[in-house]
């Protein structure tokens, strides 16, 4: 057999092609793949004007492949294109014994490798409870609710403490596509719309208080990057990352959507990007989204950024796999039966109604009024952006503190309650007073 001529790289046409690019199956050499991957993220950053010169950016770092690649690429691009950014790493320690040990070690090494300051904040500091303490208190069942709710706010709270107004996360194209399909399956258009948006800043509800953690901008520079390419990039750049697996299995809708995305990618490699595109277009068709805005409609959604569902156990709600679907099925079937019988029974998704709540001010009472200030209020306890009067974290904290008499005596929103929570927020405010 005559020696076959090696396939040449489709870009430089010089080197031998060694990489089959997952996104479009083009054949590239290693240096060209690295360059094209970085250039595409640069393109995403510039075409969406994600950053401005002098901005301080916190990279949500878990030690996993996505955030490690994000840190590495941002460092490279910041130097190559002179973005003028101040990049810092921010890690959250949930306080699960042993769980973060290896990943936090990885982040510490990354901090040295990339010469970026690193802050690790524990749930203990942010909420007064570690996850282990939560589990001890509420048992294994149901702790996912806490994990998810706490985690969603942790980066914002942490960033506020560092005086950083902008957090970037490693969400990639696979994550976004998965969330689009998941929210179609769950029938949640506002969240679908929100998840497709590259920037999900929560508008400051009332004051322009710079120390408040209600006005943290979040963005996803890897939004259009394929997970497989992120892995390839990490591999070829010899990046030091830790293969984290969420210790909780994803809930049924996300698991279902994830499996679909993997199968779709197998059938048509562009499908991940195509789902993202569909999601962006659908966001403009969601009732109430004003598509004349520059953001393309996605950011006028009524879901606060921080209430956005994230991967892993973030949305598991403490139910076992399949339980989530069965629960929704029962609920929908009841609605259908009621509609069928033309009963005036309206069964809507049960909202956690709190006994002590005063009459909610227009919140949910006049659903058709697109008044964002009313829908996106602030938590009356911690000031966090929330669609409810008290944010989910505070509701959960209240429950925890209530059930632990040695720590907490009062459950009403009195001075003491506020002190504990202010302990976190004021602490952040103080920390944030440093150089801006």
């Amino acid at each position: 057999m005559p020696p076959k001529a090696p396939t040449l790289c489709a870009i430089c046409k010089t080197n031998r092609a060694l990489i089959l690019r997952p996104k479009d199956h083009s054949k590239l050499c290693k240096p060209c793949f690295i360059t094209v991957f970085e250039t595409e993220i640069h393109h995403t950053i510039t075409s969406n004007s994600l950053f401005h010169r002098g901005e301080k950016i916190a990279i949500g770092a878990s030690g996993g492949k996505d955030s490690t690649v994000l840190a590495s690429v941002l460092k490279t691009l910041n130097e190559r294109y002179d973005y003028g950014l101040e990049l810092v790493l921010l890690s959250i320690d949930e306080g699960i014994k042993g769980y973060r040990d290896d990943s936090l070690e990885t982040v510490k090494r990354n901090a040295k490798q990339y010469d970026m300051p690193l802050t690790i904040l524990g749930y203990e500091e942010l909420y007064g409870w570690t996850m282990d303490q939560v589990v001890e208190q509420v048992g294994k069942k149901g702790n996912c609710t806490y994990c998810g709710v706490f985690r969603r706010q942790a980066l914002d709270r942490g960033a506020a403490r560092l005086g950083v107004r902008h957090v970037v996360t490693g969400h990639n194209a696979d994550d976004v596509a998965e969330t689009v399909l998941m929210n179609l399956l769950r029938g949640d258009l506002p969240r679908l719309s929100r998840s497709t948006s590259i920037v999900t800043s929560t508008p400051a509800a009332a004051s322009g208080d710079l120390k408040s953690h209600t006005n943290i901008k979040r963005s996803k520079p890897l939004k259009y990057a394929y997970e497989k390419e992120i892995v390839l990039y990490a591999h070829h750049k010899n990046l030091d990352y830790f293969s984290t697996e969420c210790i909780y299995s994803p809930e049924a809708f996300r698991g279902s959507a994830r499996a679909l995305i993997k199968n779709l990618e197998r059938v048509r490699p562009s499908a991940i990007l195509d789902v993202v595109r569909s999601g962006e277009d659908m966001a403009k068709l969601v009732p109430g989204n004003d598509d004349d805005r520059s953001c393309g409609g996605a950011c006028s959604s009524n879901v606060p950024a921080a209430e956005e569902e994230e991967g892993g156990c973030g949305s598991a709600n403490g139910r076992t796999a399949g339980g989530e679907m069965a629960h929704m099925e029962r609920h929908l079937a009841q609605n259908e039966a009621a509609a069928e019988n033309e009963l005036e029974v309206e069964i809507t998704i049960p909202k956690p109604k709190k006994a002590g709540n005063k009459k909610p001010k227009a919140n949910g009472m006049a659903p058709q009024k697109p008044n964002k200030q009313q829908v996106l209020g602030q938590c009356k306890i911690c000031g966090y952006i929330s669609s409810q009067e008290v944010c989910k974290a505070c509701v959960l904290l209240e429950g925890l503190n209530k059930s632990q008499p040695k720590n907490r005596i009062e459950v009403v929103y009195d001075e003491k309650e506020n002190q504990v929570l202010d302990g976190a927020t004021n602490g952040m405010a103080k920390a944030a007073l440093g150089p801006g």
Partner: protein
């Protein structure tokens, strides 16, 4: 699934008539054969509200086109509407509408297409107007300046090429089975619309079940046509200038399949292909197209979570086409209205190649169609 025969159901009487033994469970209700048939009939006929006798002007027959594919869905629809028409004329001596049943024969490009001779059996059982139209007729029916026609005239084909040559050359130019599975139904729809117009029909009655509409929702999303979702599942005016109706929209696929055997007499002898039971999900490991993938997915979800399937359709139905979008330019292939000139795969956030406009607006293809036909038509 068809008829359930597990013991705990067989012993239970029908939940509705409280008399006959139940033969299957429909959304947690054990039903007997009669009550099940009535359940499906009612769901379908309810959707035909606007075609009741009292809405028809005397002496003026409203015609609607019913595409027949010899699949489960279109056969059940024909069976139920035939029943509805009989009931109408028994009660009032006239009917609210009449049916034009059209079978599109795609045998020139699809070897698994049903034999046109099958139509005879259907015709004997349900006396209506029938027609068999070969798929390639599309090339003769379209106006000469139709963008699809212009685009489809491959330059390397001699001017003497027949319409069969043209359609074969188009389909063989599609490299993936996903693309073929995507384009074939679009051509079929386009031809049915032309037939409906020519025959003076005021609308088309599609057989899509709840399950099929959910499949379409996710597969159009996966193919990059999320922008057009409202048009794919809504009853009423379509971008093709004729109203579309989906009378089976409240019935699950598995219920239609069960109906085939439970109807009196059964419809099984009229069904073509791997329709009846079991074979549907067995090939899931070797799925080759996006449509098949979604079909298998929803047929499994439908088993235990029928309301979730229905909720997907309801959710997609909440997407709103803005008024200004109705006048938007249409895609040359799928005919969906594309707003803001967002044709082609370039010029959006996920496109990293600035200045590459090769398959841009000039192709006249929407994002999704540009994926199916990467080099543009011709």
């Amino acid at each position: 699934m068809a008829v359930k025969d597990n013991n705990d159901i067989a012993d239970q009487p029908c939940r509705r008539c409280k008399n006959n033994p139940s033969v299957l469970v429909v959304r947690t209700e054990p039903l007997c054969r009669e009550c099940f048939v009535r359940y499906v009939n009612t769901k379908i006929i309810k959707r035909m509200e606007s075609f009741r006798v009292r809405h028809a002007a005397p002496g003026q027959q409203r015609k609607i086109l019913l595409p027949l594919s010899f699949g489960v869905s279109s056969l059940v629809l024909l069976h139920v509407l035939d029943f509805q028409l009989k009931t109408q004329s028994e009660k009032s001596g006239r009917t609210g509408f009449s049916l034009c049943v059209v079978y599109i024969d795609a045998s020139t490009v699809d070897s698994s297409a049903p034999d046109a001779a099958m139509l005879q059996h259907v015709q004997e059982r349900y006396p209506h107007d029938y027609a068999t139209v070969p798929l390639q007729t599309l090339f003769e029916l379209l106006p000469l300046d139709d963008p699809l026609l212009i685009s489809l005239c491959a330059p390397d084909l001699p001017s003497t090429a027949t319409s069969s040559d043209r359609i074969s050359s188009l389909l063989s130019s599609l490299t993936s089975s996903t693309a073929r599975a995507d384009v074939l139904p679009m051509l079929r729809t386009r031809l049915l619309v032309e037939e409906a117009k020519q025959r003076g029909c005021e609308g088309i009655l599609w057989g899509d079940s709840t399950t099929k509409l959910a499949e379409k929702t996710l597969s159009e999303t996966a193919k990059g046509r999320g922008y057009s979702l409202p048009w794919h599942i809504a009853d009423g005016e379509s971008p093709l200038g004729i109203p579309f109706h989906y009378p089976n929209r409240d019935v699950l696929k598995k219920e239609l399949v069960a109906y085939i055997d439970l109807a009196d007499p059964p419809l099984s002898s009229l069904v073509h292909g791997p329709s009846a039971a079991s074979t549907t999900t067995s090939m899931s490991s070797k799925t080759t197209t996006i449509d098949e993938l979604m079909k298998n997915y929803f047929e499994s979800v439908e088993e235990n979570f029928p309301s979730i399937v229905a909720n997907v359709v309801r959710t997609a139905g909440k997407l709103q086409v803005k008024e200004t979008r109705r006048t938007a330019a249409q895609c040359n292939l799928c005919n969906m209205p594309v707003t803001d000139g967002r044709f082609g795969i370039h010029g959006w956030g996920g496109d990293q190649e600035d200045g590459l406009q090769s398959a841009g607006p000039s192709s006249g293809l929407c994002y999704g169609c540009s994926r199916t036909i990467p080099n543009g038509l011709r």
